[in-house]
């Protein structure tokens, strides 16, 4: 988006100015350059260490997930899947359903439904809410926004039993609707806040201009402002998706029967059921849980930091 690019002179400035300087200065200059080069090499090495430290667990997860279990529990670790196999993924994906245990397929469907519903309803509610707080001046607007910020700080961990009791009394335990309602309350404050920023970023003058050109207020909004908000809606949607997809505590207490597990609950149950006998399959399951998040995360990463600092909730 930025149009300003700093003009760079051809050839490095050090070379150009060095040629015109007396010999003694030039020598000192090269000594400094040599020192600089070795410092650069040092920081390069440090960068690689940082990279390795942050990537290692992800690499180890992938590496393990492609090995036959016999290789996984060998006394010396294999740094590469020498006997590459996809069997762990097949095991996880097509594990037959058992009445006492959840399988990946059904948990995936539950996660998809809850996440999709949360995303959809949240976007609609947050969108109209964000328009209200950023395009209308009304009494209590400021207080409403402050209340949203404060509500975000109330930990779900403290409310879990009363929320459980409510969902139970509505007979919505183990249902997709029940968990979706709980998730909605969790993501709405932040998504309204995040969208508010995007709506405020589109100048209201644009709408007025369109109205001068003959649009009604509603037309002006849908034809001018709405298309400009698309990136904001996508970022907000991806954020809500990641929150709902990763959520653990509420799913743990609301979805108690194995048939209604979401994926994070399934992964934990799967890990406990196979307790250290099939680490390769556990790693495959872990990879499958992470995959959608990693993909979506790449889209919104830049906006996440800014949004989180002024909005604030974390998965």
């Amino acid at each position: 988006m930025s149009v300003v690019t700093r003009a760079r002179p051809t050839g490095t400035s050090a070379e150009a100015s060095g040629a015109r300087r007396p010999a003694s200065v030039r020598r000192r200059g090269t000594a400094r350059e040599a020192k600089r080069a070795s410092a650069n090499a040092l920081w390069g090495v440090v960068s690689i260490i940082v990279f390795v430290c942050s990537v290692f667990p992800v690499y180890w997860m992938l590496n393990t997930s492609f090995k036959p279990n016999a290789d996984v529990i060998s006394p010396t670790p294999q740094w590469w899947p020498e006997n590459f196999t996809l069997r762990n993924y097949v095991t996880v994906l097509f594990e037959p359903a058992r009445p006492d245990r959840a399988n990946f397929g059904s948990s995936f469907m539950v996660s998809l439904a809850v996440t999709g519903l949360t995303l959809l309803i949240c976007l609609v509610f947050a969108f109209i809410g964000a328009i209200a707080v950023s395009r209308f001046k009304f009494r209590g607007r400021r207080q409403y926004i402050i209340a949203l910020l404060v509500i975000q700080m109330i930990p779900g961990e403290a409310l879990m039993f009363t929320i459980f009791g409510m969902v139970d009394s509505w007979r919505l335990l183990n249902t997709i609707i029940g968990l979706t309602i709980v998730y909605l309350a969790g993501v709405l404050p932040f998504t309204i806040w995040m969208l508010r920023g995007f709506v405020a970023g589109v100048p209201a003058d644009l709408e007025e201009a369109a109205m001068i050109d003959g649009c009604t207020r509603t037309q002006a909004f849908w034809k001018v402002t709405f298309p400009l908000l698309a990136p904001g809606l996508i970022s907000t949607g991806v954020f809500a998706f990641i929150q709902a997809w990763n959520e653990f505590l509420m799913a743990l207490i609301i979805m108690q029967s194995p048939g209604s597990y979401t994926l994070p609950i399934w992964l934990r149950a799967f890990q406990q059921a196979t307790q250290a006998t099939n680490w390769a399959a556990i790693m495959a399951g872990s990879t499958l849980l992470a995959l959608p998040v990693v993909i979506f995360f790449l889209f919104v990463q830049g906006r996440m930091t800014g949004g989180l600092v002024s909005g604030a909730v974390k998965g």
């Binding site: 920081w43 690689i48 390795v52 430290c53 942050s54 990537v55 667990p57 992800v58 180890w60 997860m61 393990t64 529990i73 006394p75 010396t76 109209i128 809410g129 209200a132 707080v133 607007r141 409403y144 402050i146 404060v150 509500i151 700080m153 109330i154 930990p155 961990e157 403290a158 039993f161 009363t162 929320i163 009791g165 409510m166 309350a185 100048p203 644009l206 201009a209 400009l228 997809w245 990763n246 653990f248 505590l249 934990r268 890990q271 250290a276 680490w279 790693m283 872990s286 849980l289 992470a290 998040v293 990693v294 790449l298 990463q301 930091t305 989180l308 600092v309 002024s310 604030a312 974390k314």
Partner: protein, 316 residues
């Protein structure tokens, strides 16, 4: 682009619109906020009030069998505050938080400074690594780290054996002993939290004007002085906000502790606020309410700075 258009328009006189302050117009924003407000009132407001009421009531055996809860005033709070378990949990939660915030903030700041110092290639490399760590779902992360520190086949024990040239570490359990349980937990949570701090601080660092830094360098200020007198003041508010957020997130951590307990930790020795409430609730809802209320109060107290700062910055 957008600014040019709006500026051009601003010069033209805006057409006069009659201001009819009808009741309908005044209600429009509230109608638009209604769906979200209803969800928040029902799912956050009501549970908050109900939890507060629970904390003044007795939930014993009789109540499990349907008797109406008995009003007992502050007894739950007094009981909680007299319970050494609560203080052990509080001590663990706060110590864990302090360690995590210090580790996350200092590593994040150092990595951000490193990103400023290196060329585009290494910066991209670091960003990719941080992004992957950040994007991992909490449960996946804990399970993967649990595999790395696994008692029998874990990589960590193998590496320690290889480094020390012994077999001392074979079968060493990292999660049974509370102290090493917390060491593992600290590594996991720090690993997941550093990217946010690093990216935020890096974004802040790029805002520090080069001219000021160059001028200071010409005046003879070394790297440490330049950081202390120029960069830090610029970053002050970003660092404070990030630290406050980390405090809040680290104090309410649940998923990682609970999942790691499932991998082999002893919950009674490793509970923090979140998991303590979780374990307490099944036996004593009133006491769980009291602890919950204390937790909410602490969170709101810590977030006062964050909320007031945000309100001021965003000019609400």
């Amino acid at each position: 682009m957008t600014t040019t258009v709006s500026e051009a328009r601003a010069e033209q006189p805006t057409p006069h619109r009659p201001r009819t302050r009808s009741r309908r117009k005044r209600l429009t924003p509230w109608m638009m906020l209604a769906p979200a407000t209803v969800v928040l009132l029902v799912m956050t407001g009501y549970p908050l009030v109900k939890m507060a009421i629970n904390s003044f009531q007795k939930y014993g055996k009789a109540q499990i069998f349907g008797a109406p809860p008995e009003w007992i005033g502050l007894k739950n709070y007094l009981g909680t505050l007299a319970d050494p378990t609560f203080w052990a949990v509080a001590g663990r939660s706060f110590t864990l938080m302090a360690v995590l915030v210090i580790a996350t903030m200092s590593l994040g700041i150092l990595i951000a400074l490193l990103m400023m110092r290196v060329n585009a290639f290494f910066r991209l490399l670091i960003s990719i690594g941080l992004l992957l760590a950040w994007a991992m779902p909490p449960v996946s992360s804990v399970v993967v780290w649990g595999w790395i520190v696994d008692t029998k086949y874990g990589l960590l024990n193998w590496v320690l054996n290889a480094v020390t040239g012994t077999t001392d570490w074979s079968g060493h359990s990292w999660l049974i002993d509370p102290l090493s349980f917390y060491a593992v937990l600290t590594v996991i949570i720090t690993w997941m939290s550093v990217p946010f701090v690093a990216f935020t601080v890096y974004a802040g660092l790029t805002q520090v004007p080069d001219e000021v830094l160059e001028a200071a360098q010409l005046d003879g200020a070394g790297a440490v002085k330049r950081f202390g007198f120029i960069v830090l003041p610029y970053l002050r508010s970003i660092l404070l906000i990030t630290a406050v957020l980390q405090m809040i997130w680290d104090l309410r951590v649940f998923t990682q502790v609970y999942t790691l307990q499932g991998l082999g930790g002893i919950s009674s020795q490793t509970d923090v606020f979140g998991t303590y409430i979780f374990h307490l609730g099944s036996s004593n809802l009133g006491a769980a309410g009291a602890v919950s209320f204390i937790m909410v109060a602490m969170m709101l107290l810590i977030s006062i700075y964050y909320v007031s700062k945000t309100v001021k910055d965003e000019e609400i």
